[in-house]
């Protein structure tokens, strides 16, 4: 099948920052993203789990598939949001179907 080069950016970020990240991404011209729930994890600030939690706690994983030329704008927007916060940003090269959507 005809595929097109793209980038998969995965941002694992604190749930209370999700809305700010979404706004930053939209501001940076990202046409779409998907938010996955996170059950728990471990990092320098220790281990945590969502079990039994009541508040808007924990983290979420935000996945954006973008054209290669948009990655830099996206990363800069994302970085401004995560900068002072805990979170992980990774970029993977990928190929997509239906490039006109990105």
């Amino acid at each position: 099948m005809q595929t097109h080069e793209a980038r998969r950016v995965e941002i694992i970020i604190e749930a209370p920052m999700e809305r700010r990240l979404a706004e930053a991404l939209t501001g940076a011209g990202v046409t779409g993203f998907t938010v996955l729930p996170v059950l728990g994890g471990s990092g320098r600030s220790g281990q945590w789990s969502r079990e039994g939690q009541v508040g808007r706690s924990g983290m979420v994983a935000v996945i954006c598939i973008v054209r290669p030329e948009r990655v830099d704008a996206l990363l800069e927007a994302a970085f401004r949001v995560v900068e002072r916060h805990i979170g992980v940003v990774s970029v993977t090269p990928c190929a997509v179907l239906r490039a006109e959507r990105f």
Partner: protein, 325 residues
């Protein structure tokens, strides 16, 4: 003194407290018992809705007390001021950095609605009435402490601006909106509304509270296990001293306001308790450098169980003695 002990004993063997103890013990024993996040949130929605609604109904039937507005105002002022006391106390008792001290102080200026519920249920077991609008006071005390914490950090040089979004997140936090909204619904529908849904929000209330406290015991116990390392003795001590100090401030205010014994005890419980729903999320946004584990473990792992077991009987005894009730 005997009264307190007997009360404490009665309190300790209630299903509510024992459910918390069960969760706490299960966590410390590293059992895999757990309540799903969605279920815990559903339980908290139920509790907020029921407690708010019942408060509104109570105000609807007893009429709006002259001290209602004064109490609301007093609640806001207490929530604004307690963080300063907490911040200073943490400075004296611990070596926590400024941001952590401010974040912890915000939690203690705000309130824990489950502690309030547990206090209400101690009162109803003892057959002591309380002002119905104390629920509204609880809601009023949730947010102001956050502002004080941000001011404390700003004063120490770590300037933080509160953008419009943050304002909204603080003031229209889900738990505040639900509590106030349910209070207004109760106020509007009064006894007739209450009688239509009493078999949902009243009859099973104590039982639902048991399951919620089971969950809180699990979360508190796991939190303690995970953050043992960061909790120095001074930090732990703060988790017991601060609620006593808060309760004292609450009692003084209650006397000024002329609250009943029940009302005084509830205000003490509010001042003595620390937030673990609204404030933590706000702190993650506003003070990301603060270690969330410290505040949450203190609030949920030390202060909450202290209030639940020893604090509430002490506050009730003190309120009874001071108000002559």
């Amino acid at each position: 003194m005997d009264g307190i002990l007997e009360l404490a004993r009665q309190n300790l063997i209630s299903p509510i407290i024992l459910s918390f103890a069960l969760g706490f013990a299960a966590a410390l024993l590293r059992s895999d018992l757990s309540v799903p996040e969605a279920a815990a949130k559903a339980l908290s929605i139920y509790l907020l809705f029921a407690i708010g609604f019942k408060g509104g109904v109570s105000v609807a039937s007893h009429g709006i007390d002259a001290t209602l507005l004064a109490s609301l105002l007093a609640g806001v002022v207490l929530s604004l001021l307690l963080p300063f006391a907490g911040f200073a106390l943490l400075g004296a008792m611990t070596r926590l950095p400024v941001t952590d001290r401010a974040a912890v102080a915000a939690h203690y200026g705000s309130i824990s609605i489950v502690t309030f519920v547990a206090a209400s249920s101690v009162l109803s077991t003892q057959g002591i009435a309380a002002e119905g609008y104390m629920v509204a006071v609880a809601a009023a005390m949730e947010a102001p402490a956050i502002l004080s914490a941000l001011w404390l950090v700003a004063r120490a040089g770590g300037h933080r601006e509160i953008d419009r979004d943050l304002w909204r997140e603080i003031l229209l936090n889900g738990s505040i909106v639900l509590l106030v909204g349910a209070f207004l619904i109760g106020l509007a529908t009064g006894e007739p509304g209450f009688s239509r849904i009493a078999s949902f929000i009243d009859a099973p209330f104590q039982g639902v509270l048991c399951l919620f406290l089971l969950d809180m015991g699990l979360v508190a116990g796991r939190g303690l296990l995970r953050t043992r390392a960061v909790l120095a003795p001074g930090v732990l001590g703060f988790g017991v001293v601060m609620p006593m100090l808060g309760a004292a401030a609450g009692l003084g205010t209650a006397l000024l306001l002329g609250l009943s014994t029940g009302g005084a005890m509830l205000l003490m419980a509010l001042c003595a308790s620390a937030s673990y729903i609204a404030v933590p999320a706000a702190m993650r946004v506003a003070l990301p450098d603060a270690n969330p584990a410290v505040s949450l473990t203190l609030a949920l792992g030390i202060t909450f169980p202290f209030n639940l077991t020893l604090g509430l009987p002490i506050y009730l005894a003190a309120a009874g003695w001071a108000t002559g009730g």
